[in-house]
């Protein structure tokens, strides 16, 4: 569904379930920026900005992960920032990126064998060799393709290939939007006003994506007022 359609639905109706919230947030992800090579990524704490009950959100996300529909990644810049991607989307994009590459068969094997059976965020060498029966050279291929990244000696994080650009633009954009709130008079701004503002070239993602991020991560305080939601910078 189109972005406008999704946003309309979200502002008019009470968001009922986590999956539809995820789908809405996914529409905010700028696919064109990455030439459609990356799957749509959403951060887990962006859900907290829409649903009040954080414990319920965590439970629902885990349910979706258990039944294999959703994948969670440790993005690396914050121990509490987890990226969420729909499994089908991830598989499509990864395989598309592996077209014509020598590592393709190993990556396929990994996607078929490991993802459905294991919801871990990282894998140790033991597990890869003994449980999933990969060879050392296959593990090297997986790291080369970007599906695994190094965590420490003998253990790897599950990762999204070519997501370095995403992380870089995300951190840049987050810093810029936070700066916009901080530099406002009294360090606070109405959310509606902020979304109207022109963004600098530092902000490559739609402003709403960043607003959900900073509210959900509690980097700004979200205060309901008679003129709408107010975002106040939190000094930490």
């Amino acid at each position: 569904m189109s972005l406008v359609h999704a946003v309309l639905i979200f502002t008019l109706e009470e968001p009922k379930d986590i999956k539809s919230t995820l789908e809405y947030l996914m529409t905010l992800f700028p696919r064109k920026l990455f030439n459609d090579t990356l799957p749509q990524v959403v951060l887990k704490h962006q859900l907290y900005s829409i649903h009040n009950d954080k414990t319920l959100v965590d439970k629902e996300v885990n349910k979706l992960r258990e039944c294999g529909e959703l994948l969670m990644f440790q993005l690396g810049f914050d121990s509490e920032a987890f990226g969420l991607v729909f499994t089908s989307d991830y598989k499509t994009k990864v395989l598309a990126g592996e077209e014509g590459k020598g590592t393709r068969t190993t990556v396929e094997k990994f996607l078929e064998k490991v993802l459905p059976s294991c919801t871990d965020l990282s894998f140790s060498k033991d597990k890869m060799l003994k449980v999933f029966l990969f060879t050392d050279s296959e593990i090297t291929q997986l790291v080369k393709s970007g599906v695994l990244t190094v965590r420490e000696a003998g253990s790897w994080w599950l990762s999204i290939p070519n997501s370095g650009k995403f992380t870089k633009y995300f951190i840049q954009g987050r810093k810029a939007v936070l700066g916009m709130v901080r530099k406002s008079k009294y360090g606070e701004v109405l959310q509606a006003d902020l979304e109207e503002r022109r963004t600098t070239s530092q902000v490559k993602f739609p402003l709403r994506y960043h607003v959900h991020d900073i509210v959900g991560a509690e980097l700004v305080e979200s205060i309901p007022t008679t003129s709408g939601t107010l975002l106040r910078f939190v000094d930490s």
Partner: protein
């Protein structure tokens, strides 16, 4: 509504008590307060100036507005006063004849309430961050002491001995707490990000250590394995039935654990601001359905629903950082003390008298007058405006 629901409703309507305040004796911040368990009448407080004060919380003045008077004080002029700030005070759980205080002057003193002289003084090598006596113990009289030494000392009140030591932590121990359910179970929190649960009858190490990822080693980075928090753990509180343990850490998180299995219940309270370099004293309600947690958060007290993690409200009233809070179980009242040297009382909003009650005109008149604090009575507006 059941009794538990009524108590929960009272907690939800907590506001600053307009009719009561607590005598202001401390010249400096208040670090710790404790209300005795026997009658719920006397409150102890320990301050950054080393002073210890005992207050009488009961209202015998006959008037609605009253001040909780200080009954006695161990002030700066006393020969036995602590030299540096008092970090923890606790009444002897079984009667108010004795209380124990510990301080940054590296001592823990056991006081006789009558004479206000220490019956026993335990000397330590480092700052004492926290101590705790078991509220239910009949078979032992051990005081657990957390200092900046990673070893936890157990001091025996009866014999004065302190040979029992618990080893396991790698950095200073910021908080210690006995279980209110089993008199031999002790939980300890340390700056090494770990929380250990001990059975003091065992000679070997701790029973288990709390793991925030519940054994899912894949989720965390390698260093965070088997830690309770991603930072110093500085607050511990058991729920009153002893079935759950709450911990707070400088990673701005609060976690609820099943105290028997050590499992993280994964209740998400969001960001619980925590900048304390010492122990944090927070409280849990009892007998309410649902139960609430009261956590000092900057200059307010944050109230969370215990099992859902929802932030219910922020109690604002202090002028500076709040350092400690204590819940009065019988009246569902909250007392909080902070750097502004004030102890504030938070009470459930009192219901105004029913208007239909015609029978007791005298009572209604009296209640009507005293229900409004004279300071707030409007004696200057004219009706013609």
């Amino acid at each position: 509504m059941s009794a538990a629901d009524t108590r929960a409703a009272r907690v939800l309507s907590l506001t600053l008590d307009p009719d009561r305040d607590v005598d202001r004796i401390h010249g400096n911040g208040i670090n710790t307060i404790d209300i005795e368990a026997v009658e719920g009448r006397y409150m102890l407080s320990g301050g950054a100036d080393g002073v210890i004060v005992i207050y009488d919380l009961e209202n015998y003045s006959g008037k609605l507005q009253y001040t909780c008077k200080a009954v006695c004080t161990v002030g700066r002029s006393s020969r036995h006063v602590h030299k540096f700030s008092v970090e923890t005070v606790q009444w002897y759980p079984f009667d108010t004849g004795m209380f124990v205080s510990s301080s940054f002057d590296k001592t823990m003193k056991v006081w006789d309430t009558e004479t206000l002289k220490p019956a026993e003084v335990f000397q330590f090598e480092g700052n004492v961050y926290s101590h705790h006596l078991s509220p239910i113990a009949r078979k032992h009289s051990l005081v657990a002491v957390g200092t900046n030494n990673p070893k936890i000392q157990l001091c025996d009140l009866k014999s004065g001995s302190r040979i029992h030591v618990l080893q396991g932590h790698r950095a200073e121990v910021l908080s210690v707490r006995w279980s209110p359910r089993y008199e031999h179970i002790l939980a300890t929190a340390s700056a090494d990000s770990k929380v250990n649960v001990w059975d003091v009858r065992r000679a070997s190490g701790s029973l288990f250590t709390l793991d925030q990822h519940n054994g899912e080693k894949s989720k965390a980075s390698a260093e965070a394995v088997n830690t309770a928090h991603n930072g110093r753990v500085n607050g511990l509180c058991f729920t009153s039935d002893g079935l759950y343990l709450l911990t707070t850490g400088t990673d701005d998180r609060m976690r609820l654990w099943n105290s028997a299995s050590g499992e993280n219940t994964l209740v998400n309270y969001g960001k619980v601001c925590n900048e304390s370099r010492k122990k944090l004293q927070f409280a849990v309600s009892r007998g309410c359905s649902p139960d609430f947690v009261f956590v000092p958060c900057g200059s307010s007290v944050a109230v969370y629903a215990l099992h859902t993690g929802e932030l219910v409200t922020m109690l604002r009233g202090h002028y500076n950082n709040v350092d400690c809070c204590e819940f009065h179980q019988d009246h569902q009242e909250l007392y909080s003390g902070g750097k502004d040297s004030n102890i504030l009382a938070w009470v459930p909003v009192l219901r105004t008298a029913d208007v239909e009650d015609e029978s007791n005109n005298d009572n209604k008149g009296a209640a009507g007058l005293s229900a409004v604090n004279p300071a707030f009575q409007d004696a200057w507006s004219s009706d013609e405006d």
